[in-house]
């Protein structure tokens, strides 16, 4: 049994690299996801993942399948969409979700256009679904660097970020950190999506960011515990997903996300914070 769990990683370097890459990803993306969920911006992660596509595509056109070029392009495109959407929100009547939707849809169409005019459909599949089993050194270093930077930044902006989620008008009334915090947080979202799309593709990367975070809501009562649970859930999903893909010969990205999805479904049922099962078996209430 133990052998079945460990052997693939002992035997094949590409499996080890994939595991390391996914673990690094699991350290950075799920904590960001926790804050996205708490700010009720879950769907924004999805929108942003589409927004980075044209940048990655242009990077691909300029430099071929180069990790730095595609990442830089994706990052620039993502930040551009965030800034433009923010600008439109602040200066017109549109709310942030609507202006963001407008920009990411345009961005996505542009991305698909660029990739299909200039590249083959295999390239498109590569960008959309990632290649977790072919992570080279550059990709691994990039993912690890992003995870490190993410954790450091989150530690620095933790308190204002929590307050920005819980009671934004109070934060505005006591400090000027509200806008910088919001912007830095969006940069983290874009950065982690860019870091993840090498491995899981632009579509699947949102999964590793949000599914563990949503799962964590069923297990923890405060934010720091939620973050810990989310990272643990992402680790588990990465491990199980990689093994599933190895033994059953499944595409790796979807296998990891589905493993994470399974964790979510289980949590909906038996999670200690409002899981369905506990609601069906009411316990006696306390004295106070």
């Amino acid at each position: 049994m133990i052998h079945a769990l460990i052997d693939p990683f002992v035997e094949f370097a590409f499996m080890r690299r994939a595991l390391v890459g996914c673990f690094a990803l699991s350290l950075g993306a799920p904590p960001v996801g926790v804050f996205l969920v708490l700010r009720r911006l879950s769907l924004m992660g999805d929108a942003m993942s589409h927004a980075i596509l044209p940048g990655a595509a242009i990077g691909f056109l300029v430099a071929g399948l180069s990790v730095p070029a595609m990442s830089l392009g994706g990052f620039i495109a993502g930040i551009a969409v965030v800034l433009l959407a923010g600008l439109v929100t602040r200066s017109t009547i549109l709310r942030e979700d609507a202006s963001l939707a407008a920009f990411y849809l345009v961005s996505l169409a542009l991305g698909v256009l660029i990739v299909s005019v200039k590249g083959s459909s295999i390239d498109l599949l590569h960008v959309l679904f990632g290649t977790v089993l072919a992570l080279d050194d550059t990709a691994l270093i990039l993912i690890a660097a992003i995870a490190t930077l993410t954790m450091a930044t989150l530690a620095i902006i933790y308190r204002p970020l929590v307050l920005e989620c819980f009671d934004p008008s109070f934060l505005t009334s006591v400090s000027r950190l509200s806008s910088p915090t919001h912007f830095l947080f969006l940069v983290l979202v874009v950065m982690n999506l860019v870091g993840g799309f090498q491995a899981l593709g632009t579509l699947m990367v949102v999964g590793i960011m949000l599914l563990p975070a949503i799962t964590a809501r069923f297990w923890a009562q405060d934010i720091s515990n939620m973050i810990i649970v989310a990272v643990a859930a992402a680790f588990a999903a990465s491990f199980i997903g990689l093994l599933l893909s190895y033994y059953l010969n499944l595409p790796t990205g979807p296998a990891i996300i589905l493993a994470s999805g399974a964790g979510y479904l289980v949590s909906v049922l038996i999670g200690v914070q409002g899981g369905l099962l506990w609601q069906l078996m009411p316990r006696k209430h306390l004295e106070a």
Partner: protein
């Protein structure tokens, strides 16, 4: 003695509104330092608008407002519609501790002394047993106590409260009024927008009655007369989409013949 103190807030022909439509017209006057002032008026009289402009969330359409020697950070403000996410996973202790922002900012930790200050605030508001409870588990009244505990820790020179007793049980209202009285005795300036005239008569020495303009301002007994209240009701007219440009100057006190 109150008369000789410098004003905490002065309004100079202040007009406030949204999209060029004024909500409050031509307010001139001063709020004395240490005043306990009730802001009374019918719905749509511009009470919230006035408070928002004091905190700086709303720029004047005309005129100006000055905080004499005080900064915006000296003001603690409890808005009427707090856009607080009540389902957010945060404990009562942590939510209240955020009132210490001026001391701890974004990065400093709570030392023993500050933790004790938080516990003391919880105790003052009768929340001592709920510190570890998550805010989602509180009743409306308890939650309002949390917000007041946070205000208490903000230790502000000026405290603005917008309808602080809405949907709150009577026991809580009594406790909160007692706290407001304590703030008053500590020399803080407190302005509270309220609609319960009887409550104002008992607890607030001064009243500003507005109905899109100042109806009366002064000692509560002289302000809350039947005549003034009737005038206030009559003045709160509907929002006029096609209103003319207001030409009224500082001197003119009479109503326009629109």
């Amino acid at each position: 003695m109150t008369q000789e103190k410098p004003p905490a807030i002065s309004f100079h022909d202040l007009t406030l509104g949204y999209d060029r439509h004024p909500a409050v017209h031509h307010i001139t006057g001063e709020v004395a330092r240490g005043d306990l002032l009730a802001l009374v008026g019918p719905n749509g009289a511009g009470k919230s608008t006035l408070l928002k402009s004091i905190v700086g969330q709303l720029k004047p359409l005309a005129g100006s407002l000055s905080l004499d020697g005080l900064k915006r950070s000296d003001i603690a403000y409890l808005p009427q519609q707090v856009d607080i996410d009540r389902s957010f996973p945060i404990t009562v202790f942590d939510a209240v501790a955020m009132g210490l922002w001026r001391d701890i900012g974004a990065w400093r930790g709570l030392d023993r002394g500050l933790s004790l200050t938080v516990l003391e605030a919880l105790h003052t508001l009768g929340l001592q047993d709920l510190g570890e409870r998550s805010v989602g588990a509180l009743s409306g009244g308890q939650f309002q106590r949390v917000l007041f505990a946070r205000l208490l820790l903000q230790d502000a020179a000026i405290i603005l409260l917008d309808e602080p007793f809405r949907a709150v049980d009577t026991k809580t209202v009594e406790d909160l009024l007692r706290l407001i009285g304590r703030w008053h005795s500590e020399g803080r300036t407190v302005i509270a927008a309220l609609h319960d005239v009887d409550q104002v008569r008992v607890h607030f020495p001064n009243t500003l009655l507005i109905a899109r303009e100042v109806v009366a301002w002064g000692p509560t007994k002289q302000v809350l007369t039947a005549k003034h209240l009737a005038k206030a009701r009559q003045l709160t007219e509907a929002w006029d989409e096609h209103a003319e440009i207001c030409e009224r100057g500082e001197a003119a006190g009479e109503r326009m013949s629109a």
